[in-house]
């Protein structure tokens, strides 16, 4: 084992990590926004709307993320071509981001739904009694309380998402793992670079989940 080439390679590994973190941040943001919309749709009294949201969630929860990533990589450019009628070069990054947002939204939806359902119904009734409409009641009363409650769960799901971003390897995007693989091959130390990558993922995930556990204890009443 010879880890000597890791330090000189840090800049290119950092480039990979930047892509991983960018993808993570955008996917978490998009996933939570879409997940919240889905959760509201699922709890709607409109049966068509709630049925559609339920089907969406069940669909994405029963197929592998890797399948979604691969499919979108091939399909997103084609779909855009149909819509706009011209060829638009969509990078692997965009198609991966779309895949992650749509896939993770199904998981975030379930967390948000549980969060909203854990707020007592009296809150919603009180908001209506004060003359608020549905939008105001959700935006000003229900969601702020629900999000405070479910922050630890949302963060935990995001740690899983952080690990799952490594799957973009399948479409050749140079994320942290792929950067480590490529660099390790060039330097002739592929084992060492892979072990290093695993260690970095471990330290970040373990550190983050320790912080989340602490947060959970502090938020618990």
């Amino acid at each position: 084992m010879d880890f000597s080439q890791i330090i000189p390679s840090l800049p290119s590994l950092w480039d990979g990590m930047k892509l991983t973190l960018q993808l993570l941040a955008l996917a978490v943001l998009g996933g939570i926004v879409l997940g919240t919309v889905l959760a509201l749709a699922r709890m709607s009294s409109n049966t068509v709307l709630s049925g559609l949201a339920k089907a969406y969630v069940n669909y994405f929860r029963s197929i592998p993320l890797l399948l979604v990533i691969t499919w979108f990589y091939l399909a997103v450019p084609m779909i855009l071509n149909w819509i706009t009628g011209e060829f638009i070069a969509v990078g692997a990054f965009t198609s991966c981001l779309v895949a992650f947002v749509m896939f993770e939204a199904a998981y975030y939806c379930e967390i948000v739904r549980a969060g909203i359902q854990s707020i007592s119904k009296g809150q919603l009734n009180a908001a209506y009694a004060l003359g608020m409409n549905y939008g105001q009641a959700m935006r000003l009363i229900m969601l702020p309380q629900a999000f405070r409650k479910m922050t630890p769960l949302l963060l935990q799901q995001s740690i899983i998402l952080f690990q799952d971003t490594s799957l973009v390897y399948a479409v050749g995007l140079i994320d942290f793992l792929n950067a480590a693989r490529a660099r390790g091959d060039i330097m002739g130390q592929s084992h060492e670079f892979l072990i290093f990558a695993g260690a970095v993922y471990f330290v970040i995930s373990f550190g983050a989940s320790t912080v989340v556990k602490r947060l959970q204890k502090r938020l618990a009443v």
């Binding site: 669909y59 029963s62 399948l67 691969t70 399909a75 690990q163 490594s166 399948a170 793992l177 995930s205």
Partner: protein
């Protein structure tokens, strides 16, 4: 728009031998099931041992199990797979190395790596479920068992585990489904399981949407049938009037 929809594509020849595309999907599904089932049985066995270890008195055994869980839960599955496929074989004894790398056909060595990887990865998750199941039992259960003269082994064997496993069937079901979905990473080390066959069909026939739609339907049906099966098992083993049986 210049896409030729063709839902009959699955019955057309692949151009390789006399195979039609549907044959590829069937063989892919076969590999997916072969990976997931074998890995699941191993994960269940290892995970149960670890789960019991985490609840044992003393310090050393619970600490080992905890370290295992943290290690395998915080490293991405794909990194673990690359470790088992690219790194670990190089540190095996020489005879085993030659056998693994040269004598086995590539599909078999990829298969072994994936099964080992998924078994150990999923064992960490099973461990947590088993531990939660045991800890959810009233403390009086183990105290009573020890009081009537059971050894620790007998307490787990006859009192704690039979109850704990019944309680954790639902979370175990979702881990069981996950192992099928996770087995798709095998496509990245060249095992021709369902996703790899789908990709190959999409590339050979250029009928991307049909290929991926069929794959989605297969995964969906697989999921639904496994879930139904697990629900049946849960009902079958339920003890009326006992915890979890009341629901």
């Amino acid at each position: 728009m210049n896409y030729n929809w063709d839902w009959n594509i699955f019955f057309k020849s692949t151009g390789i031998g006399s195979e039609i595309y549907l044959d590829w999907f069937i063989s892919g599904l076969g590999w997916t099931i072969a990976v997931a089932l074998v890995a699941w049985i191993a994960a269940l066995a290892i995970g149960s041992v670890l789960g019991v270890m985490r609840t044992l008195p003393g310090k050393v055994l619970p600490a080992i199990a905890t370290a295992y869980v943290e290690l395998f839960r915080n490293v991405p599955l794909l990194v673990q797979l690359f470790m088992w496929y690219f790194v670990v074989p190089d540190y095996l004894p020489e005879a085993t190395q030659i056998w693994f790398k040269q004598e086995l056909n590539p599909a078999t060595s990829a298969y072994i790596s994936v099964v080992v990887c998924l078994a150990l990865f999923t064992a960490a998750r099973v461990c947590e479920q088993v531990r939660t199941g045991i800890q959810a039992l009233p403390r009086g259960q183990s105290a009573a068992a020890l009081a009537v003269g059971f050894s620790i082994g007998q307490t787990y064997r006859y009192v704690l585990l039979p109850q704990a496993f019944r309680v954790i069937i639902p979370p175990l079901t979702s881990e069981f489904l996950n192992i099928f979905k996770n087995s798709s990473v095998a496509s990245l080390i060249g095992l021709m399981e369902l996703l790899a066959q789908t990709k190959q069909t999409a590339e050979f026939s250029a009928n991307i949407f049909e290929a991926f739609t069929l794959a989605t339907v297969i995964y969906f049906v697989l999921n639904m049938s496994l879930m139904t099966l697990m629900n049946l098992i849960e009902k079958k083993v339920r003890i009326p009037g006992m915890m979890g049986g009341a629901k």
